[in-house]
């Protein structure tokens, strides 16, 4: 029979070993080697902290916004409702997929294939730092993640100060030929406000972050600047751009009269990415002209 102190030591050692085993297990589970990033935000975050995914999701936006080190990484075409083709994804044997709410239906299937799925894309600019650190934490690159978050924060604070003017801007999403305005609770709307714009929404509210408003309201609101963001396949973009630039109603507004109708050529106002500071800077320089 062992003594009481001996038993205590044994129990303590067992607890310690169990804790160490659990930690080791958690660490190995948290850092799978084969990672798929379905969004440009997660792909670029991973690349910036030194992790190369085995594949990257490819949706409407193209690959221009990917960091150079990711340009040769295999793409997985994304389509509704599941996102990636599940057979193609399974054949890559990923342990972890960084996804987004858009592909939530597919996430259930991925989990049934024993793939860990994490939705880490930020909804607004203020969430970007937490999202970067979350992704970095999951792949055991906490320090690199904190450095990246600080770097983005510092760049953002440099480009969001000293507005020379605060123009009234209507940011319009073009789905086909039907325009919807971005509201403050959208990625683009939030970003425009950080760039110094006063967002024109005619008081519309919607959980989705977008609202259809009538042409009459656009004329009545009379924005100083209109920025169109086409949301379409690459082949259809030019047609929608032309339609936006020649919209007769928009020409009646101050924006139209002063040739201040712009059309964004990429999806930086639609989809989160770590180049938020560069996007804000570009919006201020090219559209708002308030630097």
């Amino acid at each position: 029979m062992s003594s009481a102190p001996g038993r205590t030591a044994c129990v303590a050692a067992a607890v310690l070993l169990t804790a160490l085993a659990a930690l080791a297990g958690a660490a190995s589970a948290a850092a799978p080697k084969r990672i798929v990033a379905l969004t440009p935000f997660s792909a670029n975050t991973l690349a910036s902290i030194g992790v190369k995914p085995v594949a990257i999701g490819q949706s409407l936006g193209g690959r221009e916004r990917l960091l150079p080190s990711l340009r040769r990484v295999r793409s997985l075409p994304l389509a509704h409702p599941n996102g990636p083709n599940m057979e193609q994804l399974a054949s890559l044997r990923p342990g972890l997929v960084f996804s987004s709410p858009t592909w939530r239906k597919g996430a259930r299937t991925m989990r049934s294939l024993d793939i860990r799925v994490v939705e880490a894309d930020p909804e607004f600019g203020r969430d970007i730092y937490d999202s970067v650190e979350e992704i970095a934490g999951i792949v055991n690159r906490e320090r690199a993640g904190r450095r990246l978050a600080r770097r983005i924060q510092s760049k953002v604070s440099r480009v969001t100060a000293n507005w020379k003017s605060r123009p009234r801007v209507m940011l319009v999403l073009g789905v086909g030929r039907t325009p919807y305005v971005f509201l403050p609770n959208s990625w683009g709307g939030d970003l425009l406000q950080r760039a110094g714009a006063r967002l024109v929404t005619a008081g519309a509210e919607s959980d989705s972050g977008f609202a259809r408003i009538s042409d009459e309201v656009i004329v009545a609101e009379d924005p100083d600047i209109i920025i169109g963001v086409p949301h379409a396949n690459a082949d259809d973009l030019d047609g929608i751009k032309r339609y936006m630039q020649s919209n007769e109603t928009w020409k009646l507004t101050s924006a139209g009269q002063n040739n201040r109708i712009y059309v964004s050529g990429d999806d930086s106002l639609l989809q989160a990415d770590i180049d938020i500071a560069e996007t804000i800077n570009s919006v201020r320089t090219r559209y708002l002209k308030n630097r």
Binding site: H80, N85, M86, S112, L113
Partner: protein, 329 residues
């Protein structure tokens, strides 16, 4: 001669279904050698992506296609028989529009609760059918075929307007609803079928029980009543069975109304008989064969993208339908 013709139709459809099942398990975005597929199906396959793909993605999807195709074929046959109307299909009793609204509601307004998608489609599909039957049956002269069809058109328009309203309110999420509205199966394992299968089971069971009463109903309401059949009860029960089958199908595969309309006609024309003892089970076989073939085509036409199966079924089904129609005329 008629028996030989019917046997030939059944044999042809069984062969088509078996070939479709084989193709559905063997073909996909990832090339897996046929021998490996056979090994996996016979339990000899090695652990790895191939086994996962065949057992967890292709097999459940093939089973989904068989059940949904059979259910829509039976639903169409039941409704066309019960309403004595060649244009009857699950669309007529509002199920398709109701299920579309339920699914779009979840997809657009509550995307965080995507797991409820099949339940939403099922519940609203059945709700729409219930409303149609209530409007058609309550009041003087209730239960007539014309009244049922008009009630169906009105209720379907109501739910279609609701769907359009949702799509207008959530423009940035509309794309997620397009696939469902166009009709398509997805590789998502057994999860949805685990929830939905009882509705298929009850729908098929009721359909089997109604085969003889529907044959009597085909003789006209008066004759059917003289033979001890209650025409209104039979119509209501057949409608309920079709509603269950169509709503359950919509929950799994979106809106595939075309199949329920065309398959029973093709079966009647090919078999040369309108007997429900032939039309109902063979419509199940034909619907399953058509959907399995269409889904395989939709998955393999432009890999790795998966296209909605609805248009593919039309491409396969319409030429066959037109050919038979011309022969019948």
């Amino acid at each position: 001669v008629l028996l030989a013709r019917r046997s030939l139709v059944v044999a042809g459809l069984v062969v088509a279904l078996l070939a479709g099942i084989g193709a559905s398990l063997a073909l996909g975005a990832i090339d897996i050698p046929l021998a490996d597929v056979v090994d996996v199906m016979t339990g000899d396959g090695q652990e790895g992506p191939s086994k996962q793909i065949v057992l967890q993605l292709r097999l459940p999807r093939t089973v989904d296609a068989i059940l949904v195709g059979a259910a829509l074929g039976v639903a169409g046959a039941m409704l066309q028989g019960a309403l004595a109307n060649p244009l009857a299909s699950p669309d007529v009793i509002g199920v398709t529009a109701g299920a579309g609204f339920g699914a779009v509601l979840i997809l657009l307004a509550f995307p965080g609760s995507i797991a409820l998608l099949p339940v939403g489609a099922l519940v609203f599909g059945l709700l729409a059918a219930t409303l149609v039957f209530m409007v058609a049956w309550i009041g003087p002269d209730g239960g007539g075929v014309g009244r049922l069809i008009l009630a169906g058109i009105a209720i379907a328009a109501l739910f279609a307007a609701g769907t359009t309203g949702l799509m207008t309110a959530y423009p940035d999420r509309v794309q997620s609803a397009v696939f469902f509205l166009a009709g398509g199966l997805v590789s998502d394992g057994w999860e949805e079928m685990r929830v939905i299968w009882p509705y298929f089971a009850v729908g098929f069971a009721i359909a089997l029980c109604l085969i003889r009463p529907l044959d009597r109903l085909a003789l006209g309401d008066d004759v059917a009543a003289s033979l001890g059949t209650r025409p209104r009860v039979i119509r209501l029960t057949a409608g309920a069975s079709a509603a269950l089958l169509a709503a359950a199908s919509a929950a799994i595969a979106g809106l595939l109304g075309f199949l329920g309309l065309v398959v029973p006609h093709v079966v009647r024309m090919a078999g040369g008989t309108a007997s429900h003892g032939f039309v109902v089970p063979v419509s199940a076989l034909g619907g399953a064969a058509l959907l399995v073939a269409g889904d395989t085509l939709a998955r393999t036409a432009k890999p790795p993208l998966e296209l909605p199966v609805g248009p593919f079924m039309v491409v396969i089904g319409v030429p066959m339908f037109l050919w038979l129609l011309r022969k019948a005329v």
